[in-house]
């Protein structure tokens, strides 16, 4: 693997880990495997009778209390993958195992947070969080108590009687996280959960998520297309490539924990980001759409220049 592809501006290899970080990863890998993906393939039939391979031969596993990010260009099958993991779609071949047992069909032990919030608009915030507990047969009083604890955790206890349409995007997503966590899932699947939020709210939510993850016994699989988000959050980043979706590399993020936003200028962060950029936007390879060669005609007066 050519780690020096970006030239000599930085000497740090993204794979180089400080002893503390290396020790963390050793401990992480000693923890039991929660989610195991084996030869996962998903082929979709096309309208013309052909086939499109969205994912091909995916293999990876996630350890208990790990926070793994899945990163890839658009069309790499990120969403297909998370739907397969959640049981909302069935693989063409291969399997998903949770705690060593095959996971088929949707189940509350694989909680999911969607990009589009998907709160139930007819339920109050508290009742949204209670939903999974009630479906599992818990008594209303007890479910209500638990829901309030989870709302406390995401800082929304005040809004327990509000309806989703009264909340901002960030608040809605916090409710959705509380709702998924209330079921005590073995793994929390998050499909670009902060993608629809503005930059500032997004940064707050990332910090918030790390806070929750530190305090709650939960394993998180987080899909994103944002490189900085992936590095800031993840223990390991699974990089996919598109057409068909395949594992390109599993990167161990060498940025030490606890993470904070100031680390985005640290050498480890920059080295990892450079590597991700190489993988996601390969330089030499001519991409399918040569952006530089757009045939733009000049439509302003001569001398009316902006740069």
């Amino acid at each position: 693997m050519s780690a020096n592809a970006t030239g000599s501006s930085s000497s740090l290899d993204y794979r180089q880990q400080s002893p503390a970080v290396a020790e963390r990863f050793k401990k992480l890998k000693d923890r039991p495997v929660v989610l195991e993906v084996r030869d996962l393939t998903r082929v979709f039939p096309t309208a013309k009778g052909g086939e499109v391979t969205a994912l091909r031969g995916l293999n990876f596993h996630v350890h208990r209390r790990e926070l793994m990010c899945i990163l890839g260009p658009s069309g790499c099958g990120k969403s297909t993958l998370i739907r397969l993991l959640a049981g909302l779609d069935e693989p063409s071949s291969g399997e998903v195992r949770l705690d060593g047992k095959p996971a088929v069909g949707p189940s509350p032990d694989r909680g999911m947070v969607f990009q589009g919030y998907t709160l139930f608009p007819w339920l109050t915030v508290k009742r949204n969080v209670m939903f999974g507990l009630r479906m599992g047969g818990m008594e209303s009083d007890e479910a209500s108590r638990e829901a309030l604890q989870w709302l406390d955790l995401v800082g929304l206890a005040k809004f327990k009687d509000a309806y989703p349409h009264q909340l901002s995007g960030g608040m809605k997503q916090r409710v959705a996280i509380a709702r998924a966590l209330a079921n005590n899932p073995r793994i929390l699947l998050m499909d670009e959960p902060f993608g629809a939020l503005d930059a500032q709210t997004r940064a707050q939510m990332q910090t918030h998520l790390l806070e929750i993850w530190r305090n709650v016994d939960v394993t998180i699989l987080f899909i994103t297309h944002d490189l900085d988000e992936a590095i800031y959050l993840a223990d390991r980043i699974l990089v996919l490539k598109a057409h068909p979706g395949e594992v390109q590399e599993l990167i161990e993020v060498s940025v030490p924990r606890p993470r904070h936003p100031a680390q985005s200028n640290s050498p480890e962060f920059l080295a990892t980001k450079r590597r991700l950029e190489e993988l996601i936007h390969p330089r030499a390879e001519p991409t399918s759409q040569p952006m530089e060669k757009l045939p733009i005609i000049r439509l302003t007066h001569a001398g009316d220049d902006v740069e």
Binding site: A86, M112, T118, F120, P121, M135, H165
Partner: protein
Amino acid sequence: MPRSRWFAIGKEPPPRVRLVLTFLSFLLPVALWALISYVPWIWHPLIRVNDPGTVAWFTPGLLVERAVFAEENAKVVATPDARVATGERANPVFLPPPHAVARALWTAFATKPVLKGDTWLHESLALSIRTIFWGFVISSLLGVPLGILCGAYPPFARLVEPAIDFVRYMPAPAFGALAVAVLGIFSAPKIAIIVVGTFFQQVLVIANTVRRHDTALIEAAQTLGARRRQLLLHVIVPGCLVELYNDQRILLGWAWTYLIVAEVVGVSSGITFFINQQAKYRNFDNVYAAIILIGIIGLVTDQGLAFLGRRIFPWQTRQPSRLRAFLALLGRQGGSNA
């Protein structure tokens, strides 16, 4: 309001303007009606004879076409000892002026039935409302669950909807004779016509509404552990409750349409009987009064249901009922005046 505001797409005017427009919506047709009724040189195609003069067949109060009136007078002028008929321009008897209808609205309730067996207006109305109520309740008890079933589970839709689509095209009144043969001549066949008229549309409308349900919410519920029946009862039904409620409001309007045909089946009864009877006596002011009453009942029911809907569904933000908006506005203005 500046001119550009009228044609700004999707932009609601301010509340005060909205209220004025709502009033105008009723006021303009009434104003047009008043214009035609009270301004003698607008329309008024007939002449009401005051003094018949020497025209043999004219009598005071007779309505004749203007051309005929002029022709007769021309003939009369040619003869000796002539006295021309006089009269004033009038509208046909089927267009009573607004004040006559307004008066009729008042007096219709107070007027004793002409014949024995005729009914008071309020009795006719009560009977009609009862017919609608039972027709709609029976139709809904069958149609709503079936519609939800079809909307939620495609195999049911495949089984049920083709046949319903077929029957839907048969006009409900076509079943009139059959209904009378089976159910007798009184209320039962009328209720049956309303059920037939409403039910088939209802199943399809409700099924379509349920089908439009947000699949993302169903998937979210599945990842939270909801299973088949739970999905139906806790996600699909509550998720489209607001739309179902609004569908029911629209369907209730259709039920009123079928009422008019239903009520002539078997023994004619209810508001339709009243209207036909009054038309027979050429009391067109009473006819208009009755038709307007149906409109008022419909509007009040619908806006009442919309108002109620806002109470039942506190999470819905769209389309406040007009009644509520109106009350809110009155409240606000009362508040600012005080």
